[in-house]
Amino acid sequence: MTSQAITIRGLTKAFGRNAVLRGVDLDLPAGQVTVLMGANGAGKSTLVKVLCGVHAADAGEIRLDGRAFAPAGPAAALRSGVVTVHQNINDGVVPDLDVASNLLLDSLAEGGGLFLNRRRMRAEAGKIAAAIGLELDMARPVAGLSLADRQLVAIARAMAHRPRLLILDEPTSSLSLTEAQRLFALIDRLRGEGVAILYISHRMSDIRRLADRIVSMRDGQVSGLFETVPLDYSGAVRAMLGHEITEVDIAIPVPGAVMLEARGLRLKPEARAFDLTLRRNEVVAITGLVGSGKSALAAALFGLEAPVAGEMRLDGRDYRPRRPAEAVAEGVFLAAKDRLINAVVPGFDIQQNLTLPFTPRHAGPLGLIRRAAERAAAERAIAAMGVVCQGPRDGILTLSGGNQQKVVVGRWMAEASRLLILDEPFQGVDIQARRDIGRRIRDSAAERATLVLCAEIDEALEVADRILVMSEHTLVGDHRNENIDLARLMTEVSGAADRTKEPA
């Protein structure tokens, strides 16, 4: 009989009008690993932030070992026994201090005595490390440790609090295979000690290795709970991605000549090589889970990072860009994902954001910008994308997310391209903006090859002529977007992992 460490009932949280958690019910039993799956924006991170005290819930109840749990802040959550190891490992350690100081960081922060007793500190830290079987030189600075060891230090420090719930947010995303194995061994040990573990990941191999139960989240709610052995991994992925498709109305045109041809492309040393052909007047979507290699492909095509191996030809000529400027000069454009990090220039107005990549085309002698030409180009782009704004001189941050996205996508459609890559072009936009952007992508596609990368299958179905599936940094499926076999597509999204052998 397992006891419930945490029970969550009817949890809601909204940011402004944006409801992120819409009534989450979830139990986390002690001594079990619960894997939480969900696409971007499903509400995973918000749920974690409520649990670890960063955000307060709007409504709903959390009980920890039967007592109401509403932490006032991260420190309070920690004291109550909810420990979180964040995705970004360096958030959890102080690189300049030695291992012992890192392990004792929380007690150092709480004070007690003015001077530090090094020997006693090392002995105490040694005990903490031994408790989880961590063998490290206590005097070593953390900066000299591998990522995995840093993470184990962060976990060991967390464990000193005798946690009831340990939350691991994509802990293996920057670890190698052997490093991950050490983490898994530690998780097994903690599970044996009766700690409830909430493990957030997209890596099917991790999930298969660790999960006792899987919870899928979608649109701020739990969309699936899987706890009967054998676990239904494909079902969990389906529950996370959803499959209600709304009025897909794609007329597939006859594709033109080959625009981009990649042969033997290898994105990671251990990944399988693949070929990719993109044609003029064809919109191709690549779907796959987060971390499946979609963005790595975009990086290779846009000259951000050279592929490990493989040849690329663009419009019949060898293509090997070394930096984005070369890709742009060849007519390969990338509208990057995560607009606030990679695309929006917050200090600029709409017009300046729209014309950013192509200032030379609006500049005359001495590089002087021709205001009228720039403004006309901006107004054309605003009209074409349907950006809702008062005028091109409004600040970009006065726009809603959907309209910001139209601007940063629209900047790459203002000039003719050979290959337009759109990485998550529908990220964080409302349904209307999604339709507008999708329509604009299709309407302007005749003279170029278009590649759309999106984790959501719905989005791929709405925009593409052809859908490719990516998994483990290689292509595993190719579908014409016509009477598509969704079950097969879903299996490919999750299923590649089902086929991979588990590392010993």
Partner: protein, 337 residues
């Protein structure tokens, strides 16, 4: 045009109104304050710091900082004196060598920051230290002037070329005969050029993009590293121009001069953030910032405020301007989001 709230009006025009108010108050108390001579004196007093401030503005635009400008200026002063007094060369080689030195220092700063990944403050701090020391080595710590004793025992024969001294001392007939010093003309020309470069050309636009979101700029195909380096080269060249004017005004290579250049010019650039509610580095604001400090000091001096209160006053103006920029306009900016 949208109607502006009172706070927005205050943020936009507050600083300019304050400056106008100061001019009115000083003119009432001391009518001589309004004379052309007084105006020109103010401009002359801020010419060198103004030029340096415009240079540092370029680095601020790309979200960098150049602490070495003061040291570059004094190095240029010493170099020009050395070239003319000890090597006995003319004005043109002196000016060209100084400009080249400024560009080289800027290039090294830029490479340290972009290629070696040294944080901007630390790289330029190191460069400042290095230059302060370097400029004293050739003369064993002495100032350079005609007739000085050389290590060999003989006196230095060379002298400052008259054309060079004109840069600092010549006055042009404007309204009154012999009114406007050449250094003021240089300041105005450089201010206009900097403004045009930053506001009207695509290069300035791209530099602002880098300062606002370098990652996005890089993904838009912009050569982020190149423009960063360019900003430091601009800053170095401007600082060397300031140093040339300083040498031309003093007529000697004075090891004790130019101590305040760095702080004064950085203050002018930062005060510039508050002008017209820009909340970002901008050439017009920098020029106004330098002018504001000049007006305030000239007015207070005419009211017999002692010289030793000057730094205090400059510091107070800077703090008020920074509050203006970050607290007030930041609040409005957040509300709009």
């Amino acid at each position: 045009m949208k109607s502006l709230s009172l706070t927005e009006l205050a943020i936009r025009y507050g600083f300019l109104l304050l400056m106008a108010g100061l001019i009115v108050v000083f003119s009432v108390l001391r009518p001589a304050f309004l004379s052309p001579q007084s105006g020109v004196f103010i401009l002359q007093s801020v010419a060198i710091t103004g030029i340096l401030a415009l240079g540092v503005t370029a680095t601020l635009v790309v979200d960098g900082f150049d602490l070495s400008i003061g040291a570059v200026a004094t190095s240029a002063m010493m170099l020009s004196a050395y070239v003319m007094v000890i090597w006995e060369m003319g004005a043109v080689p002196a000016v060209l060598l100084c400009l080249g030195m400024g560009a080289l220092v800027g290039l090294v700063n830029g490479l340290l920051i972009v290629k070696m990944r040294v944080p901007d403050l630390l790289a330029t701090l190191g460069m400042m230290f290095l230059l302060v020391g370097l400029q004293r080595i050739p003369t064993q710590g002495n100032s350079i002037s005609t007739g000085m004793m050389l290590p060999g025992g003989q006196a230095a024969e060379g002298s400052f070329a008259p054309e060079f001294l004109m840069l600092g001392r010549h006055r042009i007939d404007f309204i009154l005969p012999d009114l406007v010093p050449l250094s003021v003309v240089v300041l105005i020309v450089i201010a206009l050029l900097t403004w045009a470069f930053l506001e009207l050309t695509r290069h300035g636009r791209v530099m602002y993009a880098i300062g606002s979101n370098a990652q996005a700029a890089g993904l838009a195909g912009i050569n982020v590293a190149g423009y960063r380096i360019l900003a430091y080269v601009i800053s170095g060249v401007m600082a060397s121009i300031g140093g040339i004017l300083l040498a031309a005004r003093l007529g000697r290579g004075d090891v004790a001069s130019g101590n305040n250049l760095l702080l004064d010019s950085v203050a002018a650039a930062l005060i510039g953030f508050a002008v017209l509610g820009a909340a970002k580095p901008n050439a017009f604001g920098t020029a106004i910032g330098a002018l504001f400090v000049g007006i305030l000091l000239q007015g207070l001096t005419m009211l017999n405020a002692p010289y030793y209160t000057q730094d205090f006053i400059k510091g107070a103006v800077l703090v008020v301007a920074l509050v203006f920029t970050f607290a007030l306009s930041g609040r409005v900016g957040r509300a709009r989001r």
